[in-house]
């Protein structure tokens, strides 16, 4: 119940954040503007609109998670509201979890809004929507949940600016982790190989959540793949939330 109350407050507070509306405005401009690129693409306008709609949902979702997520705890300390909250009969992990759930609820609203807008736009342009398009959105949301958990962890550990830089870097390099696994043969038997393979598992593999190619081209994806990616996302997110709770528990406020 206490977690739910904090989540509710976080949601209300975040939805009033002007950054959210600026980002949503740019996302809408990007999606609607993508049609212009389609004019010179030899009949690829719908594909390009789908590609850009999915990428905009992902990138602007990540930006919202970073900008709002990394300042969650800092804002409470800055406004001195944290002391009032912690004075209540409540565990610190409940506070962290409530904050997290409030933010992912906000991201759910943003993702659903962008999906509805993109879908209507694609249908109005004469395109069709395949099930894979919605599965791609589902996995984007799972990715946003993971990144939000990482942003909350950073919010418990460091300043908003440094946290935003770290989360953004992980969000970019998280799409390239397979480089660490597919190493050329000259790495065989070296300690660098073991180190890089460890990095492959430690850095979240965000390319798992990318179904944009399949969605834009109407290609079927296996249900097992989607389920396993969701399981991976859930496990990783839980790991980050536990670490965030531990970090906040130890934090001297």
């Amino acid at each position: 119940m206490r977690i739910f109350t904090i989540a509710q407050n976080t949601f209300r507070e975040s939805i009033r954040d002007k950054v959210l509306y600026v980002l949503l405005f740019f996302a809408a401009v990007t999606i609607f503007g993508s049609k212009a690129l389609g004019w010179i693409s030899i009949g690829q306008d719908i594909k390009i609109v789908k590609d850009i709609a999915l990428s905009a949902t992902s990138i602007f979702g990540i930006l919202i998670a970073i900008f709002v997520g990394t300042s969650l705890i800092y804002k409470e300390i800055d406004k001195r509201t944290l002391y009032t909250i912690l004075a209540q009969p409540m565990q610190r992990y409940e506070f962290i979890l409530g904050k997290y759930l409030g933010l992912v609820a906000l991201l759910a609203v943003v993702t659903v809004t962008m999906t509805v807008v993109s879908s209507v736009y694609i249908l109005l342009l004469g395109g069709t929507l395949h099930l894979t398009f919605f599965l791609a959105i589902l996995l984007i949301y799972a990715k946003l949940m993971l990144i939000t958990a990482f942003a909350v962890l950073m919010s418990s550990l460091t300043s908003p600016i440094l946290g935003a830089i770290i989360v953004f870097s992980v969000a970019v390099f998280g799409h390239a982790t397979e480089v660490f696994r597919d190493l050329p043969p000259q790495f065989d038997g070296t300690s660098a190989k073991a180190l890089l393979e460890a990095a492959y598992y430690v850095i979240p593999n965000l390319s798992n959540f990318d179904l944009t190619r399949e969605a834009a081209n109407g290609i079927d994806v296996s249900g097992a793949y989607v389920v396993w990616v969701l399981v991976y996302g859930l496990m990783y997110t839980m790991t980050l939330l536990i670490l965030a709770a531990l970090a906040f528990q130890e934090k001297d406020v």
């Binding site: 999915l54 799409h175 390239a176 397979e178 990318d210 190619r213 834009a216 081209n217």
Partner: protein
């Protein structure tokens, strides 16, 4: 108020400066157009470093590719970077069916690089087994570009049968597959292909198709003129000495004005030819020769002493003839240039 006006004028002046600078940047860039592909990282690495935006990067590269084709079509028609650009696009988005389809077609029809077109389309067939357009385009290359090669019609039939077996395949492809098993009529096949494309919504495709249809008309007219030369030969027992003599005999069809700016001429061997078709063929054969020269240089670390060295090294079975019957290739061994 005055300050505001001065500020506004200054801002406008600076803005004009920025526009002028942008025009200079464009002028400098125009000289290096297409070569930016050289600065892209390795195609496989590029896949990893787009931050999850592979498809958007593929789309942007595809648009760049179309601009490149349009620019080259109106300019040198070399298409040097086309293959690399297309391969990068499909590496980023392996399900991008139309990049394989149009890319394969452009490589074969515009760059005269059938091998690259076939390789791209075959890669597309593997990644998109439910796309009937890719085996169809492969069949077209074997039918039209490689019609004189042994086994090409069998391979074309194989790909057409493959296309015909895929759901959603248009009826004409199925009919064509059946037709191929009977009597071949490649001129009609080619005409039908470009006629379908001339109705495309896309300007670039329409322009390519329009040019190809004009070339077909010119070829047909050249053929008619050669029929007239044969008729003259049967009547007079010799070939005419000039077009005027042929026209004077009253058996030549009404001369066509070549819309592409070429002219018809009668060769010393008594064959009517058209300069537009010969120039196009010359460009295509030069591309083949230049590719062979580059291969030779890469292998031997130097340009060959003469063009026959390409045959001697087994790079090609026979050198392509110069399309103009009274001309030969001029090769400079110092620079590796041929014209």
């Amino acid at each position: 108020m005055t300050r505001r006006i001065i500020a506004a004028v200054c801002a406008f002046a600076v803005f004009l400066g920025a526009v002028a600078a942008q025009r200079q940047v464009n002028a400098v860039r125009a000289a290096e157009q297409g070569e930016e592909i050289l600065f892209l990282p390795n195609q496989k690495l590029l896949n990893h470093f787009t931050g999850g935006m592979n498809n958007v990067v593929a789309d942007l590269l595809w648009l760049r590719c179309i601009q490149y084709i349009a620019t080259e079509s109106k300019g040198e028609r070399n298409f040097t970077w086309l293959n690399q650009m297309l391969n990068t696009v499909v590496q980023l988005d392996p399900y991008f069916g139309d990049a394989y389809r149009y890319g394969g077609m452009f490589l074969a029809a515009l760059k005269a690089d059938d091998d690259a077109g076939i390789a791209l389309l075959e890669q597309g067939v593997i990644a998109n087994p439910r796309n009937h357009q890719l085996p169809y385009e492969l069949a077209m290359i074997f039918l039209l570009n490689r019609k004189d090669e042994p086994g090409s019609k069998e391979r074309a039939t194989h790909y057409l049968s493959m296309a015909a077996a895929i759901d959603g395949c248009p009826e004409f492809v199925r009919e064509l597959a059946t037709q191929l098993q009977g009597q071949y009529n490649l001129a009609d096949v080619e005409l039908a292909m470009w006629n379908r494309m001339v109705d495309s919504d896309d300007k670039l495709l329409r322009e390519v198709a329009q040019r190809k249809l004009i070339e077909i008309d010119i070829r047909a007219h050249t053929e008619q003129l050669n029929q007239a030369v044969l008729a003259f030969n049967q009547r007079a027992g010799r070939f005419p000495e000039s077009i005027q003599e042929l026209a004077g005999a009253g058996i030549m069809p009404i001369p066509m004005n070549d819309p592409l700016g070429g002219t018809f001429f009668l060769g010393e061997d008594g064959v009517m030819r058209n300069t537009t078709l010969l120039d196009e063929e010359k460009k295509n054969r030069l591309k083949v020769l230049n590719n062979l020269l580059k291969s030779y240089k890469n292998k031997e670390d130097g340009w060959p002493p003469n063009l026959d060295a390409l045959v001697a090294k087994g790079l090609i079975a026979q050198l392509p003839d110069h399309p103009y019957p009274d001309q030969t290739w001029r090769y400079d061994a110092a620079t590796g240039s041929v014209e």
